[in-house]
């Protein structure tokens, strides 16, 4: 520690800290543009010049380390003079277009011009003119306003790991841009909008639609991945105008993924309904709540009376809040049915009885960046949980050995020590690492561990998992979609145990953990308590059939891993109640009544993230039209069906009932079990994932997100060699058959896909007619 003095105030500072950090901690304001606490120091704006005793010239506070006895003056005439001069230089080329600038009112430069600027410009020459590059659907550019602070450049380089923006040229001719016409495609790209201290980079969807002073910021939680990023919804009147990150060091730091930021625009989709709708003989009719809820309750009652409770089921979307999931399962169980499930993206439920209370990351999110070694099994973490990917990237850049065993190679934006690509033999490859790990630990090989040849790569992974302080084995989303999830999970836990590493699961949905704890699984009640009636998982419901179904915030035609089977089951059911904000064509086809709930940010709720953190939030804006919070709909449905325990008056009453779930501790003990992996012999194997902008109904309807390069179209991605293998070389469209389904899909040749496999994304309309997820497909000419 060193002692310094700023403006006569005596302060203690960490060795090597910069003056600006110390001043910030002490609440002393130093103006700045290029300095940002999460980025490297550039010291190129010179706005933070301060006077230091015994130094002839003013020094930049952001790049001046503290020394013992240093005396800093931030408001002396010399410092103020330097700051004023810098500002005058910065304003030379800055246009006077504040009235049309979206940054106007929340602009650092504007504020500092008021604080330090003169009122008359001494610069009579012409201003610099810069053409604005098109950076894609999310970021609007007005580069004439740029002051070359390079925050955006450093963000891309250091945080997003996509060095796409750069400063080309020199001196006054410096331009920030991509140089050649190109879009910025990072999944974290829109953070540069927040970083930009001026209006050079602004949000395209928000462009020209609001002013900061008319917005009211209300906190919320993002439901699109298991991170639970804290955000701020800016509301004008009743409309969400934009979403910004809320600083939360232990979860999302100061960042927000583009998906979290622009998903709210899905709520403006034309498919959104704002009044309950009922299917009658004459077609769909908008109606009032009384008749819609009575209609729904009568329909469910009829199914109950005719077919009994075992023919009644509920599918819960994995973005639904804990309260909603809880009330759904409570309703089902009150009616005598245990058929409730939220794991619509999974197919393998063999080990469900042995699983912990909820999918747990095994550590705090912030600990990810301190990992020295990690093995991720079946994860494209960068696109699936962008903010976790960003943390892991930090670990990798610090020297952490990050390895992947994935069914296909994914491009990562950090150094990956090993990426084993194993499509057909995924289980064996994981088993090989397990064997290597057991050998290193000198442990006995447990019964049933598949035979596997241990190679150098496997040994290297196992060795990396044994060295360093913090190590983890993480099971990703791809493993959850896989029919051998049980085997993968058991072996992942085994590897972690033998290496002394953390074992963690990256849950596939935004509130998977919450849904588990709320009891939205067929075999367990709320807080993982045993349930009286054992229910059926969603897949058995879909395959064996159910007569009555309640859908909560899910669109099975896209959300389910077996979309065809799911829609067929829905069509065969006698009565389907859909609690969903969107009336898609598919929903109009299979549902009998659609009850519009409030979307996220419109209603109060609670989400549980992958570290088991419960985050409650209030609605930020009233839902449009007649839409009502889903928990209220479920509560009234309960009353109409004469179910017991549906007297909650407010959401706090529901939360009170959830108290036991809140008390459930995180635990990740997965007992070893003898695996019996399915085989994928004979035929082309389909690899599957949910592309980043296809994960839920809201994201799928967000127009700007769908225009980005990450919005992957429903197509067959295949290596040229595979095409030749099945005599389809050069075809641009093929007919793909999987299970009972088939679809005509365009072909995109992608040499990154292993030979013998095709990658066909899930969650898109084009692939909704296919029979499943990972599995064997046949391809013929179109």
């Amino acid at each position: 520690m060193v002692n310094i003095e700023i403006n006569g105030i005596k302060l203690e500072a960490r060795d090597g800290a910069m003056v600006i950090e110390v001043a910030d901690e002490a609440g002393i304001v130093i103006p700045r543009f290029c300095y940002h606490k999460k980025l490297s120091i550039a010291a190129n704006c010179r706005m933070c010049l301060v006077e230091v005793e015994k130094v002839a010239k003013p020094l930049p506070a952001c790049a001046t380390p503290v020394t013992e006895g240093m005396k800093v003056f931030t408001h002396s005439p010399k410092a103020l003079g330097a700051q004023r001069a810098v500002l005058e230089f910065l304003l030379i080329n800055h246009p006077l277009d504040c009235p049309i600038c979206d940054q106007g009112g929340e602009c650092d430069l504007q504020e500092m011009a008021i604080g330090f600027g003169g009122d008359v410009s001494r610069y009579a020459e012409g201003k610099r003119v810069v053409t604005d590059p098109d950076l894609g659907a999310l970021i609007a550019t007005d580069m004439g306003r740029c002051i070359h602070c390079t925050r955006c450049v450093r963000f891309g380089q250091e945080v997003a790991g996509m060095w796409e923006l750069g400063g080309t040229g020199r001196g006054e001719h410096t331009r920030i841009g991509t140089y050649v016409a190109d879009t910025v495609d990072s999944e974290l790209s829109a953070n540069v909008v927040d970083l930009c201290p001026v209006g050079a980079l602004t949000s395209k969807p928000y462009r020209y639609s609001g002013r900061p002073w008319e917005l009211v910021g209300r906190p919320g939680i993002s439901p699109h991945d298991c991170v639970g990023a804290n955000l701020r919804a800016d509301i004008r009147g009743k409309q969400i105008m934009r979403v910004l990150p809320q600083e939360r060091e232990e979860i999302n730091e100061t960042w927000l993924a583009d998906r979290d930021r622009f998903a709210y625009l899905g709520g403006r989709s034309a498919e959104r309904i704002t009044a309950p709708m009922v299917k009658r003989e004459t077609g769909w009719q908008a109606t009032d709540w009384d008749s819609a809820l009575t209609f729904a309750a009568e329909g469910l009652k009829r199914v109950l009376d005719v077919h009994g409770p075992s023919q009644l089921g509920a599918w819960v979307g994995d973005t639904a809040t804990v309260e909603e999931a809880y009330l759904t399962q409570k309703l089902m169980r009150a009616l005598g049915s245990g058929n409730v499930d939220h794991r619509l993206r999974q197919v393998d439920f063999r080990d469900q009885e042995q699983l912990p209370a909820f999918p747990y990351l095994g550590m705090a999110i912030a600990d990810l960046e301190r990992l020295d070694g990690a093995l991720l099994i079946g994860s494209n973490i960068r696109k699936e949980q962008p903010l976790l990917g960003q943390r892991l990237r930090k670990a990798a850049l610090r020297g952490g050995q990050i390895a992947f065993i994935n069914p296909r190679a994914y491009p990562f934006n950090f150094p990956v020590s090993q990426q084993i690509v194993a499509a057909h033999n995924w289980v064996t490859e994981v088993a090989a690492v397990a064997r290597a790990a057991l050998a290193l630990a000198g442990e006995e090989i447990p019964e049933g561990l598949p035979e596997a040849e241990v190679g150098e790569a496997h040994e290297a992974i196992a060795a990396a998992l044994r060295s360093g302080e913090q190590r983890a084995v993480l099971l990703g989303n791809l493993a959850a979609y896989h029919p051998a999830q049980t085997e993968l999970r058991a072996m992942a836990a085994l590897i972690a145990r033998s290496c002394g590493a953390h074992f963690g699961v990256l849950a596939e949905g935004g509130n998977s953990a919450g849904a588990w704890l709320a009891g939205a699984v067929p075999h367990r009640g709320m807080a993982a308590q045993p349930t009286a009636v054992m229910g059926r998982d969603w897949r058995s419901m879909a395959h064996e059939g159910v007569k009555g179904l309640l859908l909560l915030s899910t669109e099975p035609e896209s959300d389910c891993i077996e979309p065809l089977r799911a829609t067929q089951a829905l069509k065969q059911a006698d009565f389907v109640v859909a609690i969903n904000a969107f009336a898609s064509d598919a929903a109009r086809d299979y549902a009998d009544v659609i009850l519009p709930p409030a979307l996220y940010l419109e209603a109060a709720g609670t989400l549980v993230n992958c570290e088991g953190r419960w985050q409650s939030f209030e609605g930020t804006t009233p839902p449009p039209g007649e839409a009502r919070p889903a928990w209220k709909l479920l509560r009234v449905l309960g009353n109409l069906l004469n179910a017991i325990g549906f007297e909650q008056l407010s959401i706090t009453d529901v939360r009170d009932e959830l108290a036991p779930a809140l008390a459930v501790g995180a635990d990740n003990q997965i007992p070893w079990r003898v695996p019996a992996p399915p085989s994928f012999e004979g035929g082309i194997m389909r690899l599957v994932d949910y592309p980043i902008y296809s994960v839920d109904g809201l994201v799928r309807r967000s127009a700007p997100l769908q225009q980005t390069r990450d919005a992957i179209a429903g197509a067959v991605y295949v290596a040229g060699a595979t095409l030749t293998q099945v005599d389809l070389g050069g075809a641009d469209r093929v007919r793909v058959m999987q299970g009972e389904g088939e679809a005509l899909l365009p072909v995109i040749v992608d040499e990154a896909i292993p030979v013998g496999c095709v990658y066909i994304p899930a969650g898109t309309t084009a692939t909704a007619a296919l029979g499943g997820g990972f599995g064997v497909v046949e391809m013929t000419h179109a």
Binding site: M162, W163, E164, G166, T168, G169, R170, T178, Y179, V180
Partner: protein, 166 residues
């Protein structure tokens, strides 16, 4: 990552060998240190200027993001990003040369060649550009023709220099 989209085949084997020699001067994990040399080598290979494709090829070859190569190439006036003449004439117009009469030098060159600053003669022989200080203030006014410095310029010496060039 947007890397390796450049086509390495654009680099001739001779250039490759020369770039590799530069790479070997640096630690194995810092081969991007050779970017300036690589740009110069490819500029020579391509007749005096660098295209986007060549810069992308360098990015792929040195395993760095293309934008990082563009940043370097656009920063230095020695790299030309558009086709140019066989002989590159760079006139210093910075303070020392300006005081000693670089304006006349520029005027004379423009008149003699019939082109303005930043332009190339119709026969593709000369490209005239203005540069900042080249560090030869002691002999101001000066200009650089290709790699040679010419100092204490007068209209007569300029004519003599231009006449000597093919």
């Amino acid at each position: 990552m947007k890397q390796a989209r450049g086509n390495i085949d654009l680099i001739t084997p001779e250039s490759c060998a020369e770039i590799d020699r530069w790479i070997s001067n640096y630690p194995a994990d810092q081969k991007q240190s050779a970017v300036m040399a690589a740009l110069r080598i490819l500029q020579d290979q391509n007749g005096g200027w660098l295209s986007h494709e060549l810069m992308d090829a360098i990015a792929a070859y040195l395993d760095m993001p293309p934008i990082a190569v563009y940043e370097v190439a656009t920063f230095y006036s020695m790299y030309r990003l558009e086709p140019c003449g066989r002989h590159k004439i760079n006139v210093c117009t910075n303070i020392s040369c300006l005081l000693c009469g670089s304006e006349e030098v520029v005027a004379h060159l423009q008149e003699r060649l019939g082109i303005k600053l930043g332009e190339t003669t119709a026969d593709g022989k000369f490209t005239l550009s203005e540069v900042e200080c080249l560090g030869a203030c002691v002999g101001a006014p000066m200009m650089q023709v290709n790699r040679d410095y010419h100092e204490r310029l007068t209209p007569e010496t300029i004519d003599a220099i231009l006449d000597s060039l093919q």
